[in-house]
């Protein structure tokens, strides 16, 4: 089976006065039909820019400088804005952390959802409306037919995010990119949304990239995980591989700092230092200044290479026996 999405060697850089920001610097990934890929990393690691690049939404001073993005075998890099518009909103959808990035505050929900359908397909308004009601009920909005005539501000934050997700589903896209859509929500509401999303991926076969900084969300939702650090994927594999037997020292550190992995009341194991500035990265491995395993070899940038288990970008990856210790 060929993947829905295949990204190879993607580089998206921002040309700012302070210098070139290599926000995405050689990212490769694939997503299959019905699969959820968790893209994890701390703020500034390049997750959103990766998502925006796939959506063709990167603006000046940023630009895709290298690499390829194929959706169902079709190359997207280099498309005209007109061609992008026919794909975006139809085959490719994005859900943002703030649902108001998708929803128009001055239009009723039904107006927006019906337009989202008719912009890409010749269907009657009535058929489009029926599809909107179906999508709203699929994301768990009670009495959707009545709620359709409301304005976005009449919904709570969690409801609004569900409306944004329902809108994303309308045209049965091939790929949905979800950029931290539950980060601002309460755990109860987050769980409701994750529940609906999980069902949808299974029922409709839509492929998904779920962007988050929260490893615990990924563990419950994703089939595979890619961990980003300073614009690069540093480790990727199945969720079990990455979370149960991490190879990269950064992933090991991240997992170790989750409170439930530590003995109650004891100091948490922590990664020293700070997340790096993207305009002033160290030479070689970007994690070097914070890495307990760093040595001279790490002055040379490591490649993403197979280990026993996941792929890791590291000269001295953890090996299985140690991870157990």
């Amino acid at each position: 089976m060929s993947p829905v999405l295949k990204v190879s060697g993607l580089k998206t850089h921002f040309f700012t006065r302070a210098g070139v920001v290599p926000a995405v610097d050689g990212v490769s990934l694939t997503v299959d039909r019905g699969e959820v890929l968790g893209l994890v990393g701390e703020s500034g690691s390049g997750k959103s820019v990766t998502g925006f690049s796939i959506m063709g939404l990167v603006d000046a001073p940023g630009r895709v400088v290298e690499g390829s993005i194929e959706l169902n075998g079709r190359e997207l890099v280099g498309l005209t804005e007109r061609e992008w518009r026919s794909i975006r909103g139809k085959s490719l959808m994005i859900i943002f952390q703030d649902p108001m990035m998708t929803l128009n505050p001055v239009l009723r929900v039904d107006t927006q959802m019906i337009e989202a359908v008719t912009a890409h397909e010749r269907v009657s308004r009535r058929a489009a409306r029926a599809r909107a009601i179906e999508a709203l009920s699929a994301v768990g909005i009670p009495s959707p037919a009545e709620r359709l005539s409301a304005y976005p501000h009449q919904f709570s934050g969690g409801m609004r995010q569900r409306v944004a997700i329902a809108t994303a589903l309308l045209n049965r896209p091939d790929l949905i990119i979800a950029d931290e859509p539950t980060t601002a929500l309460d755990v109860t509401i987050q769980a409701q949304i994750l529940y609906e999303v999980q069902k949808l991926a299974i029922d409709t076969g839509t492929a998904m990239i779920w962007i988050t900084h929260d490893l615990t969300v990924v563990s419950g939702l994703a089939d595979r995980v890619a961990v980003m650090y300073a614009g690069k994927i540093v480790e990727t594999g199945t969720t079990d591989q990455v979370l149960d037997a991490p190879r990269h020292p950064y992933t090991v550190g991240l997992i170790g700092s989750v409170p439930s992995h530590n003995k109650r009341g004891q100091p948490l194991s922590q990664i020293p230092g700070m997340t790096p500035s993207m305009t002033n990265l160290p030479e070689g491995c970007a994690f070097r200044p914070r890495c307990p395993r760093a040595d001279d070899r790490c002055r040379v940038t490591p490649e993403l290479t197979p280990t026993t288990g996941a792929l890791a970008r590291c000269h001295h990856p953890h090996i299985p026996s140690e991870a157990a210790a």
Binding site: D186, S260, G265, M274, T275
Partner: protein, 340 residues
């Protein structure tokens, strides 16, 4: 439990939401709208022992920050009384009240918005001790250095401005500023929520170390149950302004009594759960402007029965030191014939 450093007795805080311009216009044509009252905190009683870490948990808008602000003396309570070291605030003279206010400091979620961007770090940290005359002028600079070292900041950076620091460092500046007046009690309002995972662990460790070194007491407000379980001794669960359950951390995580707490615990995403099926509690968080009658939780509660819709359940002890407000506890008591 040792002597409480702080006690709340039936504390409530109400806010009046005044009509906006459009609503006043509507009233001119006879809409008859009145100011609305938000019962942000509704009759909370709580004692916190010296050296204890109490977690305060609940969904957005349930009144955690408001309760924290009342404890920190930022908001006066609308009702009820607060005692500091056994003495009622209402009975204190101005000097005592001022002293008590300094002893309780609050640390907010957003490290940047809490810091004045035009002040240097040394001024931010040194301002309060200078203003309150806690440290002689000649020793101020050395004191600032000490505090910076204590929270893991290099005193060499004391002449920098807040924007020249990372998020985690800014939160350390906030903590340093609070520590500068030698508080006994810190109210931490989502103090690690805005930080990156790796930095969050550093700041949690800092809080735990400071607790040891300075014998601090904490009210730790957080929506992150993983963090709360890790560092708190006792946990208070709030729902729409009311305390619905309180127990030691171990007891609460092992034997939650209230249906709301049980649901919250079930939703916590955990690292060891793979491809779990999310089965969420139904329904939205109701508006605190119009809380449901009886038990506030009844529209979302899988066990609700008639009485829940009419009568507010009282907090009752369900095990030593474990209280919960749910009518099911009465039903259980009656059916088994035991009493507490």
């Amino acid at each position: 439990m040792s002597e409480p450093i702080l006690a709340l007795r039936n504390v409530s805080k109400r806010f009046v939401k005044s009509l906006d311009a459009a609503e006043r216009m509507a009233n001119l044509v006879g809409a008859g709208l009145a100011d609305e009252v938000v019962h942000a905190v509704d009759g909370v009683s709580l004692e916190i022992a010296t050296g204890e870490v109490v977690g305060l948990v609940g969904e957005s808008g349930c009144g955690k920050s408001t309760l924290g602000r009342v404890v920190a003396g930022i908001h006066p309570a609308s009702e009820g009384e607060m005692l500091f070291r056994g003495k009622r605030l209402a009975e204190m003279n101005a000097a005592e009240r001022h002293e008590a206010a300094l002893r309780v400091q609050m640390i907010f979620q957003d490290p940047m918005s809490a810091l004045n961007p035009r002040m240097r770090v040394a001024e931010i940290i040194g301002e309060a001790p200078r203003f309150h005359g806690i440290v002689p002028r000649s020793e101020l600079s050395a004191t600032v250095d000490d505090i910076m070292l204590r929270v893991g900041l290099d005193p060499a950076y004391k002449r920098r401005y807040p924007h020249q620091f990372s998020g985690g460092q800014r939160q350390r500046i906030n903590i340093a500023r609070a520590l500068a007046v030698n508080p006994d009690f810190l109210v931490c309002d989502e103090s690690v929520a805005a930080l990156d995972v790796s930095i969050q662990a550093q700041v949690i460790n800092l809080f735990m170390r400071l607790r040891e070194e300075l014998s601090l007491t904490y009210l730790f407000i957080s929506h992150d149950l993983g963090v709360v379980e890790h560092i708190c001794d006792r946990v208070v669960i709030m729902y729409l302004g009311r305390m619905v359950e309180m127990a030691s951390t171990e007891e609460l995580f092992a034997r939650a009594n209230h249906p709301y707490t049980q649901a919250l615990l079930a939703e916590v995403p955990r690292l060891d759960q793979r491809k779990r099926t999310f089965a969420a509690i139904k329904g939205e968080i109701p508006s605190p402007l119009h809380p449901p009658p009886g038990c506030h939780f009844h529209p979302r509660c899988p066990h609700a029965f008639d009485r829940c819709r009419a009568e507010r359940p009282a907090l009752r002890e369900v095990a030593p030191g474990h209280i919960s407000a749910c009518h099911l506890n009465d039903a259980a008591k009656h059916s088994t014939g035991t009493s507490l």
